[in-house]
């Protein structure tokens, strides 16, 4: 299924964007129409996703794992289940961009949405209206809910008022039918007066209560804004954004650009095999890979990538990683890119992986 998707993506648009040779490895595949792509927002050096629909699409259709990192409003005092934002790793971002699934949008503190909120009067009015409608809707829902609950708890007996009115009517009928004496009239008048006063009081209280109730509302903080298109000339274009992402990732760190590219190739290769990857700090790899959605399965492999021709696996590391991985019921996988012709830059590349398991004798 995924393969089908990919071929569809590849065939749709053949204009490759290759201005910078540095990111050629990453921006090598073709992009599809801008409109179909999911916008993801890059805030400096990280990618956070706030939109549930986008998340569903990326995780279900494209097998992106991501990681939720925010407080879940349902259960805010725990750390095992988290909520938005959904954070993508740099490799996931690169892969998605590479496949033409997403479009990168710069999101910084001067974005258009904030500008709109601050300065656009029409938009402000619109938002105020929307809010009041929303609050009304919420009030109605709440009212209905409360009534239903009260009915369930037998606090309000349905039709009670009607019965009351009926009895009054009956009374009236009776009084009408009977011969009217002065006394009766006086009694009736008194009753009427009392009733009027009662009704007025009731009404007053009801209005008061309603206004009190109307003041109490559920104020929602929305998770995401409508699509913000920030890409124009004065901002960075997508390639520059990718470049920026990579530079920030390797800045001040122990990995360099080549290693990052190697890691990405590894990610891409494993992704094509249908595995799902999460960051691998827990087991000392770059990734840990899962046979399916990490929601449901345990990880199987700890992944590292190397430069196939220049890096040494290192025998001690081999023992160490093999033992460690086996100890946690995983396999250590290490791989690198193999070229058909080592000297030729454009020769076809493939990934060669080795999986190491501690066997024991």
């Amino acid at each position: 299924m995924e393969n089908k998707n990919l071929t569809k993506l590849n065939s749709s648009n053949n204009i490759a964007r290759r201005s910078s040779p540095l990111i050629q490895e990453i921006v090598s595949e073709d992009n599809i129409n801008d409109d179909d792509r999911i916008p993801i927002y890059i805030n400096g050096d990280h990618v956070l996703i706030f939109n549930l629909q986008d998340m569903k699409k990326l995780s279900i259709e494209y097998g992106i794992v991501g990681q939720l990192s925010g407080t879940l409003p349902l259960a805010p005092q725990q750390n095992s289940l988290l909520g938005f934002p959904w954070r993508l790793t740099i490799y996931e971002t690169l892969w998605l961009y590479n496949k033409g699934i997403v479009k990168l949008v710069l999101l910084n503190e001067n974005n258009k949405q904030l500008d709109k909120i601050l300065n656009d009067e029409n938009y402000q009015g619109e938002m105020i209206n929307k809010l009041s409608n929303k609050l009304d809707k919420w009030r109605n829902e709440k009212q209905r809910e409360i009534e239903e609950q009260m009915k369930r708890l037998n606090i309000i007996r349905p039709n009670k008022n009607k019965l009351h009115i009926k009895s009054l009517d009956n009374l009236k009928m009776k009084t009408n039918s009977s011969s009217m004496t002065d006394l009766q009239q006086v009694v009736e008048d008194n009753q009427r007066k009392e009733k009027a006063i009662k009704d007025a009081k009731l009404e007053e209280r009801e209005i008061e209560e309603r206004s009190k109730r109307n003041k109490i509302v559920f104020m929602e903080t929305p998770t995401y804004d409508e699509f913000i298109d920030n890409n124009n000339d004065q901002y960075l274009n997508e390639e520059q954004l990718i470049e920026q992402l990579i530079n920030k990732e390797i800045e001040d760190c122990t990995i360099n650009r080549d290693q990052l590219i190697n890691n990405y190739q590894m990610f891409k290769y494993l992704k094509s095999k249908g595995l799902m990857m999460l960051p691998g700090m827990r087991f000392g790899g770059i990734f840990v890979s899962y046979p399916g959605d990490p929601l449901r399965y345990h990880a199987h492999q700890i992944i590292n990538s190397l430069d196939y021709y220049n890096d040494d696996i290192n025998l001690k590391k081999l023992c160490n990683r093999g033992r460690l991985a086996t100890g946690v019921r995983k396999v250590w996988v290490v791989g690198g890119i193999v070229k058909e012709d080592k000297e030729d830059k454009d020769s076809t590349e493939s990934m060669k992986c080795f999986s190491i398991e501690w066997a024991g004798f």
Partner: protein, 569 residues
């Protein structure tokens, strides 16, 4: 050992989108249709019990109310439907249970790229539960007349100016800073946390134009996305926020350190201070007399006349003292060199275990102090670490047992008690492991890899400072007799065990020949890793200063699973 080529294929399995169902129809957003979906799935896999997720659905409003009662405490009349609330929680807990995970997907026989109905069903269920939880609205029940009590404003011209005009709520006990005009100022991480949690809403504020403020106030609150884009400008800040929010969710009290904004403070104390280093070594008069005799007549110390181990050890200490001093000077010189290759890392946060007596205006010494590192960053070198440790100032009592424990007998006079030897009463000067492991100079490294965070605590300790350690009854030691297991006895045995294990460690470094000047021991404290996997690491990094250069020797030690935090969440 097996080395297989390309064995990843073995486990290679399709991504779960491959079933026709999910490809054609992405998991439905609305509750009702997701219900439908479950029933569809259950039909396809016979014999499976379906859970009607609809009835258990988290009701958004109730959750919001629950939140409000945490924050504001009014509106309790709504919270009577707590039964439903409980159901939600168990529903939520279901996902996190580890038993729900399988080793690998069951694939259908004829097509190895299709998940079996069983797996697909379970996967959809798990996903739907997650999506539903994510869908729940964030926000609070508020009174429109009193909106300002739960609104955080951010100055539209200066996003660092974050404040609350009518501060109200329990969270103020530990968060924010209230100035003399009763305006509460927040750091970006506090504001973002409160917004993300749904306790507060975020709105713009215009300092110059009041009419605009009115409009802002009537507008709906800013979205979480907008809040992130306002407050978080780079990954450093994001990592700071990650650490902040994880600890906050776990119930710790966490505030900015003075160095949060990057201004590195002066060091609080020297790690190797001559005055404090030897304060524990006081010889008895008799030993002084003997040593003076030995130096006057230029003969060796009359050990046989010393009468006790204490006297012998203290004497030995005193002979070591002059040898170690010049080395100390070397160490200090190097530190003042201000080596340019050394980078100063800042201490970002102070952390306290949850305590009802906490006063944010007059906080006690923090239990932990945190510096934040990216997972790909290099480990700071020895001098950088030392600088961090010198600037740190944590509460030395954090790990100390509660004062219920019986008072230790004074260390000095074991002489006359040597005859009444009672193994259950340990009168000798054993090493105080608490002092060694956890003194004031303690720093916790938070290592952030995307959203996984590991916490590692490094602390400085001086073996020299602890003075001589011995046990007079080593010769006659017998295993302690087991008594009735009253609570006290149990504790004492525990203590005893501790000391035994200490001896194991100390034994390697023969106390009589101890030339160690200092030691950095390290041990892991808390690992609130979001996905429930806690990483255990327990290292003992000991630094032996040989001559002028510091060597870092790392060795692993089996972890003693002491839960670091007896925090109530």
């Amino acid at each position: 050992m097996n080395i297989e080529n390309n064995s990843t294929n073995q486990n290679g399995s399709p991504i779960t989108d491959s079933t026709p169902e999910s490809a054609s129809e992405p998991i439905s957003e609305s509750i009702s249709s997701s219900n439908l979906r479950y029933s569809l799935n259950s039909r396809s896999s016979a014999g499976l019990v379906t859970i009607d997720s609809g009835s258990n659905l988290p009701s958004r409003e109730t959750s919001a109310i629950q939140k409000l009662s945490l924050g504001n405490g009014n509106l309790e009349e709504f919270s009577d439907d707590s039964d439903e609330e409980l159901q939600d929680w168990s529903l939520l807990n279901n996902i996190s249970k580890k038993g729900i995970k399988d080793l690998e997907p069951l694939l259908t026989d004829n097509d190895k790229y299709t998940l079996s109905a069983y797996d697909q069903n379970k996967l959809n269920k798990a996903r739907n539960l997650r999506f539903q939880a994510l869908e729940s609205k964030r926000g609070a029940i508020v009174n429109l007349d009193n909106l300002k009590a739960s609104t955080i404003f951010v100055n539209k011209d200066n996003y660092n100016d974050i404040f609350m005009l009518q501060p109200k709520g329990k969270f103020l006990e530990t968060m924010g800073f209230i100035d003399n005009q009763n305006i509460c100022h927040f750091g970006f991480e506090e504001a973002l946390y409160l917004v993300e949690r749904g306790s507060c809403m975020l709105k713009f504020w215009d300092n110059e134009n009041d009419s605009k403020n009115e409009i802002f106030e009537r507008m709906p609150p800013l979205s979480l996305q907008a809040a992130y884009s306002i407050f978080i400008k780079n990954e450093e800040q994001l990592n700071q926020y990650m650490v902040y929010s994880i600890l906050k969710r776990d119930g710790y009290i966490i505030n900015r350190n003075d160095e949060f904004n990057g201004i590195i403070s002066k060091r609080k104390r020297k790690l190797f201070d001559e005055d404090t280093l030897f304060k524990n070594i006081e010889m008895s008069r008799w030993t002084k007399f003997l040593s003076s005799i030995s130096s006057i007549f230029n003969i060796s110390f009359p050990y046989k006349l010393a009468f006790s181990y204490f006297n012998i050890f203290t004497y030995m200490r005193s002979t070591l003292k002059p040898q170690s001093l010049p080395k100390l000077k070397n160490v200090n010189n190097e530190l003042t060199l201000n080596n340019k290759s050394c980078k100063e890392f800042k201490i970002s946060f102070n952390i306290w275990k949850p305590s009802p007596n906490f006063k944010k205006k007059n906080p006690p010494l923090p239990d932990y102090q945190i510096t934040i590192f990216k997972a790909n960053q290099k480990l700071p070198n020895y001098f950088e670490l030392q600088s961090l440790l010198e600037r740190s100032n944590s509460n030395p009592d954090t790990y100390k047992p509660k004062p219920k424990v019986r008072k230790n007998k004074p260390n000095k006079v074991p002489d006359n008690k040597a005859k009444k030897l009672d193994i259950s009463w340990d009168y000798a000067k054993g090493i105080n492991m608490e002092n060694l492991k956890y003194n004031q100079n303690r720093i916790t490294l938070a290592i952030v890899d995307n959203i996984t965070i590991n916490f590692i605590t490094l602390s400085h300790c001086n073996f020299v400072q602890e003075g001589p350690v011995w046990r007079d009854h080593w010769v006659t030691w017998k295993p302690p007799v087991k008594k009735k297991s009253t609570r006290n006895n149990f504790k004492r045995n525990e203590k005893f065990k501790d000391k035994k294990s200490n001896e194991d460690i100390i034994g390697k470094e023969n106390p009589s020949k101890d030339i160690n000047n200092g030691d950095i021991s390290e041990n892991k404290i808390l690992t609130p890793v979001p996905t429930n996997k806690k990483i255990e690491s327990n290292l003992l990094i000991s630094n032996i200063l040989n001559g002028e250069e510091g060597n870092l020797i790392t060795s692993t030690k089996s972890s003693e699973n002491k839960p670091p935090n007896s925090a109530h969440f």
